[in-house]
Amino acid sequence: MIIGIDVGGTHTDAVLLSSNGIEKKIKVSTDSADLFHTILSSFTQLLDNIDPKKIQRVVISTTLTTNAIVQKNMDPVGMIVSAGPGIDPKEFRTGKHYYCVSGSINHRGIEKASVNKMEIEDIAKELKQAGIEYVGVVSKFCVRNPNHEILIKRILNKYVKKVFMGHHVSGNLNFPRRIVTTHLNAAVFSLHKSFFEAVQQSLSEMGLTIPIQILKADGGTMSLASSMVFPGQTVLSGPAASIMGAIPYAPKKKDAIVLDIGGTTTDISFLVDKTPLLEPMGIQRGRYKSLIRSLRTDSKGIGGDSTVRVKDKELMIGPDRQGPAMAFGGPEPTPTDALVVLGLMPEGHQENARKGIHRIALELGLTDLEAADQIFKKCCTVILKKTFEMIDKLNSQPVYTVHEFLEGYKISPRIILLLGGPAPYFAKKIEALYQIKAVAVPEYSVANAIGAALARTTCEVSVNADTEQGIVTAHEENFAEPISKTYSDDDLIETAYTLLKEKAVNSGADPDNLDEVEVVEFQKFNIVRNFSPRGKILRTKMQLKPGLIKGFEKVLH
């Protein structure tokens, strides 16, 4: 049997699955001040009367790191960056202990200016004095040549507890994002570590000793051990859980929209032929831009418990949540109260809901029913408007080759899959308003936990070969090997596959379940000097696609 737990901002959903289907499902309120307690009580409920020995897999998705970022509750860490020519690295300052140092590497990975060891030594002493334990080190173009980062780390090792290096974060270029991501890993490391060590400890006391898997933002899982190296990857795993939970119900060879209507927000994402779309660079939310591999999701501040108010005769919904709906004892009217008033939702306290909606109706000069209907309609239109904007943006993404330009795939979804408590009501309304097929997935209220439970391990490798310099590298994996002039496309693919497999197994993948490999990118260029070819640059990115583990198909239908 397997367990999936998705700790969301408002609710925590948990399921216990066997190959026969759902054995148990629970939904509790999240205590954001004590996530540890929320997780433990979910486990206690799920394992009640169950032999822990029967559990083969546990996957957890939490808002731990997301909360730490939002609440600016991260450890102060040191950052050392070396940039070389280009934009002033001071623009990317992460905090107080931020140092721009000498040293420069160019776009080919060739050293142009060396590291000044004395300078680093001095900074290291300063950091130690300031009581800084964790430090991030990022150099520009380190994914082409990580030597400067490694050299700086060696010096720092004597002075601090742990050093995080930029080239381990991602194989993608983007210096400012690499700084943000490395900083994040360093800043949430101790929080993540102590939290999950405590969870592991408590679970083993319950007799649950199998390794825990953690859900990542890209909809895949990683082992607890790998999560210690990249704790930042757990950011925004919640929306990923929902998308994974919708996959089984998406049409084959077609596009689908996934909407997860939560308490405070609605997460919006897309599936193309049952596969989620990935962010090309990494997670970005507003001004926060990282290299964390992530599913393409966005959210709108409208959920079942969003506060409804009237401002200048205009109906406003969200983005804040003051508590549950009035129908469930909350202080302010919400879309959920509108559903109750409209008679769509049988649960909740009718009279309280009506009280709240009546207030809105008075301000708008409408009847209670009209006001409730308007609230409901507005929720749907705002969410759908955002969704259509996202589709337009997806379809106008730049392309870099003639081939891509001519092949340009445009997504045009014909179905909306809905998850979350009020999913069935929204499905009906959206279908009526937009004439687009909208369905609530079976088990819509815990589908996200099912998604987490069944998500398989994912990972990506980026490999570069330069036959002029005679080397193939995947610095993210600490891999570099000499190659001959005749190193071919096939050789590169083989190298990438070997590295990917190794990485997957180390992150907890089932070695017999590695068939969903995909070449995401392949580029080949001649290096020419003085009009004669000197070698080739070959680049590839290969990934283990996000998807669901096998053997639990019955759970889903």
Binding site: G86, I87, D88, R108, P398, V399, H403, F525
Partner: protein
């Protein structure tokens, strides 16, 4: 968090799957290192820098500018259409006021393509700026446009296309034609009888450095622009004046390019040549983008930059000053020169021989232009190419007067179809193109 001081649009289309041939300077990897640098700098994440997808130009777009012989299909590839479409996408973004200015980083380039195009010359098949400019004039009704070509080679194609057009000011700064392809672009080349002085050619001696370059911008280009008062400034931003370029002999730098951009304030910049793909392009392009966005570019310095080594000699400085004075004097006399150029209503004839180095074509042209004080004058071109076709083309300019429109139709109607493989009419006021 970086925020652009002015919104800047970028089209980045490196055409990673297109080359003239594998070791040709105009090949797949040309913008690879630029892409690496720009991506690593996080340019597309800067608030106020917006990346646009390139458009693709249609044959109709090309036909506002060129007479493609035998036709558009034969002499272009998809890559040319997308490259020109990149410039068009930026034009849309700028003129629809989504951005303040924009830069099309596209390839292949276009500024050696003339009005008649039988194929490739100087790595160019169709003129991407000219197609953009004519699109802007048709679509947005903008009249006065200035094109400043800062590629190291004379922008002879663009010069040819706007040779007779008094509403388009074309200024080209380039390495002296006696030392560099295509061998033209001397100060005396001032445009046709109806547009004398609206073409300015400023040849610079080999070894010109940032100092000399910016001298010309400050002392000639900017004052001329000030007086011409264009509605739109386009920069053909070639990057082969760089001190590391393998095809040229100049000493310009990334800092210089960024400063030039800051001074010139182009509404639209379009990438042209530049073949030092590792040592120059990544830094020059970064410098131009930051300058357009109004961001600090002082850190964009080539790793091997040495100001002392790149200093220009005193004699070079002298030559540049002399050329600048000469060009300025031509500009002052432009009205007089036009008066003297001919009697309105007369036809002036020009014979030319054009070699297409990229496709090995030799073309002979006989061009007739109607002298006119009210518009650019209609043009008839008799062009014979070996190998290739013999054709006759008639161009009626966009702001043509009634008489020139009539004269143009007369050229076309009188053309003897049996003598030519093709007869074309480009009627810009009607935005139409006829083949007989």
């Amino acid at each position: 968090m970086l925020k652009a001081h002015q919104k800047t649009g970028l089209v980045f289309f490196p055409a990673f799957d297109w080359a003239i041939d594998p070791t040709h300077p105009e090949r797949e990897e040309r913008l690879l290192y630029t892409q690496d640098q720009v991506t690593e700098e996080g340019i597309f994440d800067i608030d106020g820098i917006i990346e646009y997808k390139p458009d693709i130009v249609t044959h109709h777009d090309i036909r506002r500018v060129h007479f493609c012989v035998p036709d558009e299909q034969t002499i272009t590839t998809q890559s040319h259409l997308i490259s020109a479409g990149g410039a068009k996408a930026i034009a849309d973004a700028v003129l629809n006021k989504q951005v303040k200015n924009g830069f099309a980083l596209v390839r292949p380039p276009g500024h050696h393509s003339m009005r008649v195009s039988h194929g490739g010359r100087g790595f160019c098949h169709i003129n991407i700026e000219a197609i953009m400019v004519e699109y802007i004039r048709s679509q947005f009704g903008i009249k006065r446009i200035a094109i400043v070509d800062t590629d190291c080679h004379h922008g002879d194609g663009t010069n040819d296309i706007f040779w007779h057009d008094p509403d388009v000011l074309f200024i080209s700064l380039h390495q002296d034609g006696r030392t560099m392809y295509p061998g033209t672009g001397f100060p005396g080349e001032l445009g046709g009888p109806n547009a004398k002085g609206s073409n300015l050619n400023i040849p610079l001696p080999p070894g010109t450095s940032t100092e000399g370059y910016l001298y010309v911008i400050r002392n000639c280009v900017l004052p001329v622009l000030e007086e011409f008062k264009p509605d739109l400034i386009v920069n053909s931003a070639g990057q082969d004046n760089h001190y590391t370029d393998p095809l040229t002999n100049m000493n310009f730098s990334a800092q210089g390019y960024a400063e030039l951009t800051t001074l010139l304030k182009p509404d639209i910049a379009v990438l042209e040549g530049g073949y030092s793909i590792e040592g120059a392009l990544p830094y020059v392009n970064l410098g131009i983008i930051l300058a357009l966005a109004g961001l600090d570019y002082s850190g964009v310095v080539e790793p091997d930059f040495n100001a002392e080594q790149l200093k220009q000699s005193v004699s070079t400085t002298d030559k540049i000053k002399k050329t600048t004075d000469l060009v300025n004097s031509y500009w002052l006399q432009k009205d007089e020169l036009r008066q003297k150029a001919g009697t309105p209503g007369d036809l002036q004839v020009r014979h030319r021989e054009i070699f297409y180095d990229t496709d090995n074509i030799f073309e002979r042209q006989k061009e007739k232009v109607r002298v006119c004080r009210d518009c650019g004058g209609c043009i008839e071109i008799d062009s014979n190419a070996t190998p290739g076709c013999h054709m006759l083309a008639v161009h009626i300019p966009i702001n043509a007067c009634k008489d020139c429109i009539e004269a143009g139709y007369k050229f076309f109607d009188q053309a003897d179809k049996t003598k030519f493989d093709r007869v074309f009419l480009q009627d810009r006021p009607n935005d139409s193109y006829t083949i007989k």
